[in-house]
Amino acid sequence: MTLAMVPFMLTFLLLVAGLYAIVAKRNLIKVIVGILVLNCGANVMLVLTGYRDPPAGEAPVAPILTGGAAQADELARTAVDPLPQALILTSIVIGLSVTALVVSLGVRLYEKYGTFDTNRMRNLKG
Protein backbone atom coordinates (compact mmCIF):
# COMPACT_ATOMS: atom_id res chain seq x y z
CA MET A 1 0.00 0.00 0.00
CA THR A 2 1.30 3.37 -0.95
CA LEU A 3 0.63 6.77 0.46
CA ALA A 4 -0.79 7.76 -2.91
CA MET A 5 -3.83 5.60 -2.18
CA VAL A 6 -4.74 7.52 0.94
CA PRO A 7 -6.59 10.34 -0.89
CA PHE A 8 -8.96 7.78 -2.36
CA MET A 9 -9.57 6.33 1.07
CA LEU A 10 -10.31 9.70 2.64
CA THR A 11 -12.67 10.49 -0.21
CA PHE A 12 -14.40 7.22 0.32
CA LEU A 13 -14.78 8.07 4.00
CA LEU A 14 -16.45 11.29 2.88
CA LEU A 15 -18.89 9.20 0.87
CA VAL A 16 -19.54 7.02 3.89
CA ALA A 17 -20.19 10.09 6.02
CA GLY A 18 -22.74 11.34 3.50
CA LEU A 19 -24.41 7.95 3.38
CA TYR A 20 -24.54 7.84 7.15
CA ALA A 21 -26.27 11.21 7.23
CA ILE A 22 -28.83 10.06 4.70
CA VAL A 23 -29.58 6.73 6.31
CA ALA A 24 -29.45 7.53 10.01
CA LYS A 25 -30.49 11.16 10.36
CA ARG A 26 -34.09 12.07 10.72
CA ASN A 27 -34.10 15.63 9.55
CA LEU A 28 -34.70 16.90 6.07
CA ILE A 29 -31.90 19.46 6.24
CA LYS A 30 -29.46 16.84 7.43
CA VAL A 31 -30.48 14.56 4.62
CA ILE A 32 -29.98 17.38 2.12
CA VAL A 33 -26.57 18.05 3.61
CA GLY A 34 -25.85 14.35 3.31
CA ILE A 35 -26.65 14.54 -0.39
CA LEU A 36 -24.32 17.51 -0.79
CA VAL A 37 -21.49 15.70 0.97
CA LEU A 38 -22.10 12.58 -1.09
CA ASN A 39 -21.90 14.62 -4.27
CA CYS A 40 -18.67 16.26 -3.20
CA GLY A 41 -17.20 12.89 -2.36
CA ALA A 42 -18.06 11.36 -5.71
CA ASN A 43 -16.76 14.39 -7.58
CA VAL A 44 -13.47 14.45 -5.74
CA MET A 45 -13.11 10.71 -6.28
CA LEU A 46 -13.48 11.21 -10.01
CA VAL A 47 -11.13 14.19 -10.25
CA LEU A 48 -8.45 12.40 -8.28
CA THR A 49 -8.30 9.67 -10.90
CA GLY A 50 -7.31 12.21 -13.50
CA TYR A 51 -4.49 13.87 -11.61
CA ARG A 52 -0.99 13.55 -12.95
CA ASP A 53 2.12 14.38 -10.96
CA PRO A 54 3.64 17.54 -12.42
CA PRO A 55 7.31 17.76 -13.40
CA ALA A 56 9.44 17.96 -10.28
CA GLY A 57 9.14 21.23 -8.44
CA GLU A 58 6.29 22.66 -10.49
CA ALA A 59 2.61 23.19 -9.92
CA PRO A 60 0.06 20.87 -11.54
CA VAL A 61 -0.72 21.86 -15.11
CA ALA A 62 -4.31 22.64 -15.90
CA PRO A 63 -5.44 21.47 -19.33
CA ILE A 64 -5.76 24.98 -20.70
CA LEU A 65 -3.52 26.46 -23.37
CA THR A 66 -2.21 29.80 -22.28
CA GLY A 67 0.76 30.14 -24.57
CA GLY A 68 -0.68 29.47 -28.00
CA ALA A 69 -0.70 26.34 -30.11
CA ALA A 70 3.03 25.83 -29.85
CA GLN A 71 2.58 24.74 -26.29
CA ALA A 72 0.24 21.92 -27.18
CA ASP A 73 2.75 19.10 -27.26
CA GLU A 74 4.24 19.97 -23.95
CA LEU A 75 0.78 20.22 -22.47
CA ALA A 76 -0.03 16.75 -23.71
CA ARG A 77 2.88 15.42 -21.70
CA THR A 78 2.29 17.31 -18.48
CA ALA A 79 -1.30 18.40 -18.08
CA VAL A 80 -3.83 16.63 -15.94
CA ASP A 81 -6.57 14.64 -17.56
CA PRO A 82 -9.33 16.89 -18.96
CA LEU A 83 -11.88 14.12 -19.30
CA PRO A 84 -12.70 13.60 -15.61
CA GLN A 85 -12.92 17.37 -15.28
CA ALA A 86 -15.50 17.58 -18.01
CA LEU A 87 -17.41 14.73 -16.41
CA ILE A 88 -17.33 16.42 -13.03
CA LEU A 89 -18.52 19.69 -14.48
CA THR A 90 -21.52 17.73 -15.67
CA SER A 91 -22.01 15.99 -12.38
CA ILE A 92 -21.70 19.22 -10.38
CA VAL A 93 -24.53 20.64 -12.41
CA ILE A 94 -26.54 17.48 -11.91
CA GLY A 95 -25.91 17.84 -8.19
CA LEU A 96 -27.11 21.42 -8.36
CA SER A 97 -30.29 20.33 -10.12
CA VAL A 98 -30.97 17.62 -7.60
CA THR A 99 -30.37 20.11 -4.80
CA ALA A 100 -32.80 22.58 -6.33
CA LEU A 101 -35.45 19.91 -6.52
CA VAL A 102 -34.82 18.49 -3.08
CA VAL A 103 -34.90 21.93 -1.48
CA SER A 104 -38.23 22.69 -3.06
CA LEU A 105 -39.54 19.35 -1.86
CA GLY A 106 -38.22 20.07 1.61
CA VAL A 107 -39.83 23.50 1.67
CA ARG A 108 -43.08 22.02 0.53
CA LEU A 109 -42.91 19.33 3.21
CA TYR A 110 -42.14 21.94 5.83
CA GLU A 111 -45.21 23.80 4.77
CA LYS A 112 -47.31 20.65 5.18
CA TYR A 113 -45.96 19.59 8.55
CA GLY A 114 -44.36 22.64 10.07
CA THR A 115 -41.18 20.75 10.81
CA PHE A 116 -38.10 19.29 9.13
CA ASP A 117 -38.27 16.27 11.39
CA THR A 118 -39.08 13.12 9.47
CA ASN A 119 -40.22 11.32 12.58
CA ARG A 120 -43.28 13.47 12.48
CA MET A 121 -44.11 12.51 8.95
CA ARG A 122 -45.99 9.40 8.15
CA ASN A 123 -44.21 7.54 5.44
CA LEU A 124 -40.61 8.53 5.74
CA LYS A 125 -39.69 6.17 8.53
CA GLY A 126 -37.68 3.70 6.51
Binding site: I64, G68, A69, L96, E111
Partner: protein
Amino acid sequence: MQGMSLIVKNITRLVAGFIILFGAYIVLYGHVTPGGGFTGGVILASGLVLVVLAFGKGFTRNVLTHETAKVADSMGAMLFLLVAVLGFAGGVFFTNVLSPGTVGHFVSAGTIPIANVGIGVKVSAGLFGAFLALAAFRRSTASAQERADALQSDI
Protein backbone atom coordinates in the same frame (compact mmCIF):
# COMPACT_ATOMS: atom_id res chain seq x y z
CA MET B 1 -40.47 41.01 0.71
CA GLN B 2 -39.45 44.58 1.18
CA GLY B 3 -35.74 44.27 0.64
CA MET B 4 -32.92 44.81 3.05
CA SER B 5 -31.26 47.75 4.67
CA LEU B 6 -29.91 50.81 2.91
CA ILE B 7 -26.32 49.59 3.23
CA VAL B 8 -27.11 46.38 1.47
CA LYS B 9 -29.02 48.21 -1.20
CA ASN B 10 -26.20 50.62 -1.89
CA ILE B 11 -23.57 47.92 -2.03
CA THR B 12 -25.76 45.85 -4.28
CA ARG B 13 -26.15 48.85 -6.55
CA LEU B 14 -22.38 49.00 -6.83
CA VAL B 15 -21.65 45.32 -7.14
CA ALA B 16 -24.53 43.76 -9.04
CA GLY B 17 -23.53 45.24 -12.36
CA PHE B 18 -20.02 43.91 -12.01
CA ILE B 19 -21.24 40.47 -11.04
CA ILE B 20 -23.49 40.30 -14.07
CA LEU B 21 -20.74 41.63 -16.31
CA PHE B 22 -18.34 39.05 -14.91
CA GLY B 23 -20.89 36.34 -15.51
CA ALA B 24 -21.27 37.43 -19.11
CA TYR B 25 -17.50 37.43 -19.53
CA ILE B 26 -17.21 33.94 -18.11
CA VAL B 27 -19.90 32.73 -20.49
CA LEU B 28 -18.40 34.36 -23.58
CA TYR B 29 -14.78 33.42 -22.93
CA GLY B 30 -15.49 29.88 -21.75
CA HIS B 31 -13.61 28.30 -24.62
CA VAL B 32 -10.41 30.27 -24.01
CA THR B 33 -10.18 30.67 -20.26
CA PRO B 34 -11.57 28.69 -17.37
CA GLY B 35 -15.30 28.99 -17.10
CA GLY B 36 -18.08 28.37 -19.54
CA GLY B 37 -21.80 28.45 -19.91
CA PHE B 38 -22.70 26.74 -16.67
CA THR B 39 -20.34 28.63 -14.46
CA GLY B 40 -21.20 31.96 -16.04
CA GLY B 41 -24.86 31.13 -15.94
CA VAL B 42 -24.73 30.43 -12.23
CA ILE B 43 -22.82 33.70 -11.67
CA LEU B 44 -25.41 35.61 -13.66
CA ALA B 45 -28.15 33.95 -11.68
CA SER B 46 -26.51 34.81 -8.38
CA GLY B 47 -26.17 38.43 -9.47
CA LEU B 48 -29.89 38.54 -10.18
CA VAL B 49 -30.62 36.75 -6.92
CA LEU B 50 -28.58 39.38 -5.10
CA VAL B 51 -30.66 42.13 -6.67
CA VAL B 52 -33.87 40.43 -5.68
CA LEU B 53 -32.66 39.74 -2.15
CA ALA B 54 -31.56 43.30 -1.63
CA PHE B 55 -34.39 45.20 -3.23
CA GLY B 56 -37.26 42.85 -2.74
CA LYS B 57 -39.31 41.08 -5.30
CA GLY B 58 -41.26 44.15 -6.30
CA PHE B 59 -38.17 45.64 -7.85
CA THR B 60 -38.02 43.08 -10.61
CA ARG B 61 -41.67 42.35 -10.89
CA ASN B 62 -42.20 44.06 -14.17
CA VAL B 63 -39.11 42.88 -15.97
CA LEU B 64 -37.84 39.66 -14.52
CA THR B 65 -40.86 37.62 -13.68
CA HIS B 66 -41.28 33.95 -13.23
CA GLU B 67 -42.80 33.72 -16.69
CA THR B 68 -39.98 35.61 -18.39
CA ALA B 69 -37.52 33.30 -16.71
CA LYS B 70 -39.42 30.28 -17.93
CA VAL B 71 -39.46 31.51 -21.50
CA ALA B 72 -35.77 32.44 -21.40
CA ASP B 73 -35.07 29.01 -19.94
CA SER B 74 -36.79 27.31 -22.86
CA MET B 75 -35.14 29.63 -25.35
CA GLY B 76 -31.66 28.96 -24.04
CA ALA B 77 -32.24 25.24 -24.12
CA MET B 78 -33.55 25.47 -27.65
CA LEU B 79 -30.52 27.49 -28.74
CA PHE B 80 -28.26 24.75 -27.48
CA LEU B 81 -30.36 22.06 -29.07
CA LEU B 82 -30.32 24.09 -32.28
CA VAL B 83 -26.55 24.05 -32.23
CA ALA B 84 -26.76 20.32 -31.82
CA VAL B 85 -29.24 19.87 -34.65
CA LEU B 86 -27.20 22.25 -36.78
CA GLY B 87 -24.67 19.46 -36.70
CA PHE B 88 -26.81 17.59 -39.19
CA ALA B 89 -25.69 20.20 -41.70
CA GLY B 90 -22.20 18.86 -41.22
CA GLY B 91 -23.46 15.33 -41.57
CA VAL B 92 -23.90 14.09 -38.05
CA PHE B 93 -25.81 15.10 -34.98
CA PHE B 94 -23.74 17.57 -32.96
CA THR B 95 -21.08 18.17 -35.58
CA ASN B 96 -19.10 21.27 -34.90
CA VAL B 97 -19.89 22.89 -38.24
CA LEU B 98 -17.97 26.12 -37.89
CA SER B 99 -14.26 26.26 -38.43
CA PRO B 100 -12.07 25.84 -35.38
CA GLY B 101 -10.26 29.10 -36.07
CA THR B 102 -7.12 30.19 -34.32
CA VAL B 103 -6.53 28.71 -30.94
CA GLY B 104 -6.83 31.23 -28.15
CA HIS B 105 -8.76 33.87 -30.09
CA PHE B 106 -12.24 34.91 -29.17
CA VAL B 107 -13.68 33.73 -32.46
CA SER B 108 -12.49 30.16 -32.41
CA ALA B 109 -13.55 26.66 -31.56
CA GLY B 110 -16.51 26.65 -33.94
CA THR B 111 -19.88 26.35 -32.29
CA ILE B 112 -18.58 26.12 -28.75
CA PRO B 113 -19.10 29.82 -27.87
CA ILE B 114 -22.64 29.75 -29.27
CA ALA B 115 -23.45 26.68 -27.25
CA ASN B 116 -21.96 28.40 -24.24
CA VAL B 117 -24.26 31.38 -24.70
CA GLY B 118 -27.26 29.10 -24.99
CA ILE B 119 -26.33 27.27 -21.83
CA GLY B 120 -25.54 30.50 -20.01
CA VAL B 121 -28.95 31.99 -20.79
CA LYS B 122 -30.64 28.76 -19.89
CA VAL B 123 -28.89 28.17 -16.60
CA SER B 124 -29.18 31.73 -15.36
CA ALA B 125 -32.83 32.01 -16.29
CA GLY B 126 -33.61 28.61 -14.87
CA LEU B 127 -31.90 29.08 -11.53
CA PHE B 128 -33.24 32.59 -11.14
CA GLY B 129 -36.72 31.36 -11.95
CA ALA B 130 -36.43 28.57 -9.41
CA PHE B 131 -35.28 31.08 -6.83
CA LEU B 132 -38.22 33.35 -7.60
CA ALA B 133 -40.55 30.39 -7.30
CA LEU B 134 -39.10 29.54 -3.89
CA ALA B 135 -39.44 33.15 -2.79
CA ALA B 136 -42.97 33.43 -4.12
CA PHE B 137 -43.88 30.18 -2.46
CA ARG B 138 -42.57 31.39 0.83
CA ARG B 139 -44.55 34.53 0.54
CA SER B 140 -47.68 32.58 -0.20
CA THR B 141 -47.26 30.34 2.80
CA ALA B 142 -46.48 33.10 5.24
CA SER B 143 -49.00 33.86 7.93
CA ALA B 144 -52.57 34.43 6.98
CA GLN B 145 -52.33 38.10 7.80
CA GLU B 146 -49.41 38.57 5.45
CA ARG B 147 -51.22 36.63 2.82
CA ALA B 148 -54.18 38.92 3.07
CA ASP B 149 -51.83 41.89 2.82
CA ALA B 150 -50.17 40.46 -0.22
CA LEU B 151 -53.56 39.88 -1.77
CA GLN B 152 -54.45 43.47 -1.19
CA SER B 153 -51.25 44.79 -2.66
CA ASP B 154 -51.73 42.56 -5.67
CA ILE B 155 -55.13 44.07 -6.25
